[in-house]
């Protein structure tokens, strides 16, 4: 059975059920509540944990200003918030591309947006002097360039998700090859640094790094939230969507722009954090028992995943701070395999 059928069949069932105000909606509400509680809990843990443990009491005292603490307010809080917002952004970005391509594989990290952003950063590192501003601009441009390339190559008198994914996989391989070629040409000391950059990290993220990215992600997510209903309709299949008057091409363009924007913004600040975008929407979809790939569960699951991964990254080799990209890859991938196994066992 093709994905299109796989997605469309339960989708129809869901519209019937939700029209009657039945279970799926209640399940979503409970899921959202549970995930939000998890996010808050992990956030508190993130604020408490560090080189020295702070009790929740001290954390709250620092947050409401009665007992100011630079470590909690200026170091730990931005990191916790970055994990939350970036995780959500990656989750949404993955959900958008999976909706767009109607394919669970169609996530930004698989089709090469991460690799493209990394190319931009590598160019900034090796050709330019590699300041953080150049890294940021370079990675956003790299991500956008790859997205544009894939979109142009995949758009051929119509639009096919599978074609986009396959072309994305091909582009990803090429861009990754280009990256290793750049590293091979680079000076040794720069190359060693670039290898470190290939796994994203939230280490050292401060308020100064977050203003613009949070604004960009906020605007993009708000834009997308306004069109989420249309997107779910489009997920029911082009034929239905056209009859309900959705401007399909414009919607798709918006989805691509929001998806690319979210991934590239995160990569610009933190480096490539693989697998959150691939795993979060799928995990969220299964938890919600929903049809299609809904955005809200994907965003919340992404936030939980990245927060959890970042905490593990900090604890695993403490005091050495491991790049979160390494942990997210290992955890996200294992969880996905486990999920697939469980479904096989159930079937």
């Amino acid at each position: 059975m093709t994905t299109r059928q796989a997605l469309a069949a339960p989708a129809r069932r869901r519209t019937v059920l939700s029209a009657l105000g039945l279970r799926p909606e209640r399940r979503t509400v409970i899921l959202v509540a549970v995930l939000t509680a998890l996010i808050l809990g992990l956030g508190l843990l993130g604020l408490c944990y560090g080189a020295s443990w702070k009790s929740p009491g001290e954390v709250f005292a620092a947050l409401n200003g009665s007992e100011p603490s630079i470590v909690i307010q200026d170091w730990r809080l931005p990191r916790v918030l970055a994990a939350l917002v970036f995780g959500a952004a990656l989750g949404v970005s993955g959900a958008l591309f999976q909706n767009l391509t109607r394919n669970p594989m169609g996530s930004p990290d698989v089709i090469g947006l991460d690799a493209g952003a990394y190319t931009g950063a590598l160019v900034a590192l090796t050709v330019l002097s590699g300041t953080s501003a150049q890294l940021a601009v370079g990675s956003v441009l790299g991500g956008l360039a790859v997205a544009a390339l894939i979109y142009v190559l995949a758009y051929d008198r119509g639009f096919s998700g599978l074609r986009l994914v396959v072309i994305g996989v091909a582009v990803n391989a090429m861009v990754t090859a280009l990256n290793s070629w750049i590293v091979l040409r680079a000076e040794l000391e720069v190359a060693i640094a670039a290898v470190g950059w290939s796994a994203g990290s939230l280490n050292g993220v401060g308020w100064g790094d977050l203003g613009i990215p949070f604004t960009v992600i906020g605007v993009l997510l708000a834009l997308m939230a306004a069109r989420a209903h249309a997107m779910h309709q489009a997920a029911l299949g082009d034929a239905i969507a056209v009859t309900t008057g959705v401007g399909l091409d414009r919607l798709r363009l918006l989805m691509v722009l929001v998806g690319v924007g979210c991934t590239a913004t995160v990569t610009a600040v933190a480096g490539p954090i693989a697998f959150i975008a691939l795993a979060a929407p799928q995990i969220g979809r299964r938890l919600a028992g929903a049809a299609g790939v809904p955005l809200l569960p994907a965003a919340l699951t992404g936030a939980v995943l990245l927060q959890g991964a970042d905490l593990i990254a900090q604890m695993l080799l403490a005091p050495v701070a491991l790049p979160v990209g390494v942990v997210s890859t290992a955890i996200g991938g294992c969880y996905l395999i486990w999920l697939l196994t469980k479904e096989v066992a159930r079937a």
Partner: protein, 331 residues
């Protein structure tokens, strides 16, 4: 945050208060604002640092240099590359010191550095890598001087600068003097043979890609200390690049004859335990190597400790070179 940005000193003071603030008693030595300061020129500009720093954090290439100079360290980054070259005493110090960062600049643990309450932070990473470090945040803890590697042979100047920043030039100068005396003595010993020889070096530093070999010229890792003994390495890089690319290249194995045919003798890098590294073994197993005039004449010499980047480590290298070149004197 305005507080963090406004002044490094105020920030450090505030931080020290916060970190020690929860109940425990304060000792007097943490006040960074106290004592004399001076202006120090580093990779990241002119930095005001304490004239006599008491609590120093060092990372990267600065780690072995600072340990050797007996700087008053309170935290270091992990530096596995340097471990085999450290003396027993230095290695014990290295193992004992709290680690506040990993091998990569990215793995810097800012909170751990803050907890060490340094009054000076010395970063020994190359300039392009500084982008991976939140220097501003470090500056909110203590003055930061970045002194990173450039050309392999430049460790002499760099380690001096690093020790100078940490206010431990005295010990540094003593070690340097010992090294120079030893090098001069050995140069005299080999006066009759070494300067006559056209030397070539096969190295193993960094990532030697499959099917290639590392050819090092003068001023490179494998050659710069032997040059202090009067060794003359001939030739130069075909297409010089920045940093180490100015003194070494990685050509295909097919170019081995062209690259080293003119050499009277060939030196090659071996590991600290004397074993031949993979990259060099590949060259030595090749028939092209066996065809080289220098190899046919039996004039090949293994060099240990070629990655030495401090005077103390380089003393070991001198001994190793002496041992390895000894057969030259017999002829």
């Amino acid at each position: 945050m305005s507080l963090r940005r406004s002044s490094a000193l105020v920030g450090a003071l505030a931080l020290a208060l916060v970190v020690t603030g929860c109940g425990s008693s304060k000792d007097g030595s943490d006040a960074a604002g106290k004592g004399k300061t001076r202006v120090f020129a580093a990779d990241n500009g002119k930095i005001t640092i304490p004239a006599d720093p008491k609590r120093v954090v060092a990372t990267g290439y600065a780690v072995p240099a600072m340990i050797e100079a007996d700087a008053s360290l309170v935290g270091i980054s992990s530096w596995k590359r340097g471990e085999p070259l450290m003396s027993k005493k230095d290695l014990a110090t290295y193992k004992k010191l709290p680690k506040v960062a990993g091998e990569l600049a990215k793995e810097t643990n800012y909170e751990a550095i803050a907890e060490a309450e340094p009054d000076l932070i010395v970063i020994g990473v190359p300039a392009p890598v500084l982008g991976d470090i939140d220097v501003q945040r470090l500056e909110s803890i203590a003055p930061v001087v970045a002194i990173g590697p450039t050309v392999p042979s430049a460790w002499r100047k760099l380690t001096r600068k690093q020790s100078d920043a940490a206010g431990s030039l005295k010990k540094f100068d003593a070690v340097q003097k010992r090294y120079e005396a030893k090098a001069a003595k050995l140069a005299k010993k080999y006066e009759g043979v070494l300067p006559e020889l056209k030397l070539g070096h096969v190295g193993a530093y960094g990532e030697v890609a499959k099917g290639t070999f590392q050819r090092e010229f003068g001023n490179s890792w494998g050659t710069n200390i032997a040059e202090d003994l009067g060794a003359k390495y001939y030739g130069k890089v075909k297409k010089p690049g920045p940093g180490s690319h100015a003194v070494s290249e990685y050509p295909s194995i097919e170019e081995l004859p062209a690259s080293l045919r003119a050499a009277d003798a060939i030196t090659y890098s071996v590991q600290a335990d004397g074993s031949v590294p993979k990259a060099v073994k590949y060259v030595m197993d090749s028939k092209l190597w066996k065809n080289l005039p220098a190899v046919k004449a039996g004039k090949t010499y293994p060099l240990r400790y070629t990655e030495a980047a401090t005077y103390g480590q380089a003393m070991k290298t001198l001994d190793a070179i002496d041992k390895s070149f000894a057969p030259l004197l017999k002829r």
